[in-house]
């Protein structure tokens, strides 16, 4: 409940009318405060040649580290994947309808040209409902929401291993199938790799069921 309440703060409120209503009772907002926070106004007085050199050296080092880090693949986390699942299950925002792998892949490509394509899931007997591309930084992952016959919603997430690594979770052998598994509260995750792609199935169903579905995917 506390997490749901916290999300109330995510919805932005327009405060321009509020400020406009009281501006006649407040001092005029100085232009110098439009972009520069107050403490930085005294920045220039603090600088000396030595400090300037140190500041540039630190920024240069930070830039080198940033460039190095930006060339490495992003990392997906269990929490992130579960959040995708909940987002897909509630079908909010920019989800697009999908009724097959082909229509889903077409819809995903319309959202992001580099979205990894989904495998054929016809053999799973899951009914697709909607799909969308999520991004971790600038790395896309393709998400598809499906329904089991009992109405339970599962989410299938596909990522390109060269751009975004799946979470490092333990491997297990489930009914002869080798896969990586994780659990977060009521949701289970089952992850399998195929070449340079990984697929993760997420939902409130047993791991054995998820592994069975993952094994039924056709690439």
């Amino acid at each position: 409940m506390s997490q749901r309440l916290a999300r109330l703060a995510d919805a932005p409120l327009e405060i321009a009318p509020l400020l406009a209503a009281i501006e006649h009772r407040l001092p005029r907002r100085p232009r110098s405060l439009a972009l520069v926070p107050g403490p930085l106004l005294g920045f220039w007085h603090w600088l000396t040649p030595l400090r300037t050199t140190a500041v540039f050296a630190i920024f240069g080092l930070a830039l080198v580290i940033l460039l190095h880090l930006s060339s490495r693949p992003a990392l997906a986390s269990v929490q992130m994947l579960v959040d995708f699942h909940h987002h897909m299950s509630s079908a909010t925002g920019h989800c697009l309808p999908a009724d097959s792998a082909a229509s889903a892949n077409a819809a995903l490509a319309s959202q992001a040209f580099d979205a990894p394509p989904l495998p054929d899931f016809a053999a799973t007997n899951l009914t697709p409902t909607c799909c969308c591309v999520h991004h971790q930084g600038n790395c896309p992952v393709s998400c598809l929401c499906c329904c089991q016959a009992d109405g339970c919603r599962l989410t299938l997430v596909v990522g390109d291993d060269r751009r975004i690594r799946p979470p490092a979770v333990p491997s297990r052998n489930i009914a002869g199938l080798s896969c990586q598994v994780a659990s977060l509260r009521e949701d289970n995750l089952c992850l399998m790799r195929h070449g340079d792609r990984w697929v993760c199935l997420i939902g409130p169903v047993p791991l054995e069921r998820l592994a069975q579905l993952a094994a039924a995917l056709r690439w």
Binding site: M1, S2, Q3, R4, L5, A6, R7, L8, A9, A11, P12, L13, I15, P17, L18, L19, A21, I22, R25, L26, P27, R29, P30, S32, L33, P37, G38, L41, H86, S89, S90, R185, E186, P204
Partner: protein
């Protein structure tokens, strides 16, 4: 021309809290116009009292305290016919034994189905003291100790109100979930 320090402090410290002030005001007061007026007066008071703000302390908690005091002043001034419900006269009983049956088997999944307006409407059913606690602690993410200072109660009271409030909120949302056939 040098900017007066009070003016700089107000625009740097207080204006960024305007969204939080407005959000809390709208969750406290049913009438949108009255809520906006409450938020406006809070900002005005904050400007007038900006010199009393101690740098390094939590500005959001400071502004919420101003909002709280202003709200109390208005409630006292309009003592007759106010719609605020006291803690002893709550509309939602957290120990309502007549509510039985389905539990929140997948609470997080179920809560995601409610819109923000559903949550806010349910919040407005709660006693104001409980509502304040949830708004400060859960919505605005203010530290419990500071929330206790804002509401002028012990930290233990904040904890118990937050616990009770979340349960009361679930209780308030249950009929809506049933009505929408999300649960049996």
């Amino acid at each position: 021309m040098d900017v007066p320090d009070a003016t700089r402090r107000f625009y740097n410290l207080i204006v960024p809290q305007a969204q939080s002030v407005l959000r809390v005001a709208r969750c406290l007061v049913n009438d949108p116009a009255e809520a906006d007026d409450l938020a406006q007066e809070t900002l005005i008071r904050a400007f007038k009292a900006i010199d009393s703000f101690q740098q390094g302390t939590d500005v959001r908690a400071w502004v919420m305290a101003i909002l709280r005091n202003l709200r109390i002043d208005r409630v006292r001034a309009a003592a007759a016919g106010i719609r605020t419900v006291s803690l002893d006269n709550s509309a939602v009983d957290p120990v309502d034994r007549s509510v039985s049956g389905p539990s929140w088997d997948h609470p997080r999944q179920l809560l995601e189905h409610f819109s923000d307006q559903d949550i806010i409407s349910a919040l407005c059913q709660l006693p104001e003291d409980i509502r304040w606690t949830l708004l400060l602690v859960d919505v605005e993410k203010i530290d419990q100790a500071q929330a206790a200072q804002v509401l002028d109660v012990p930290v233990g009271t904040i904890k118990s109100r937050a616990f009770r409030g979340r349960a009361m909120l679930r209780q308030a949302l249950l009929p809506l979930a049933r009505q929408r056939r999300w649960i049996s």
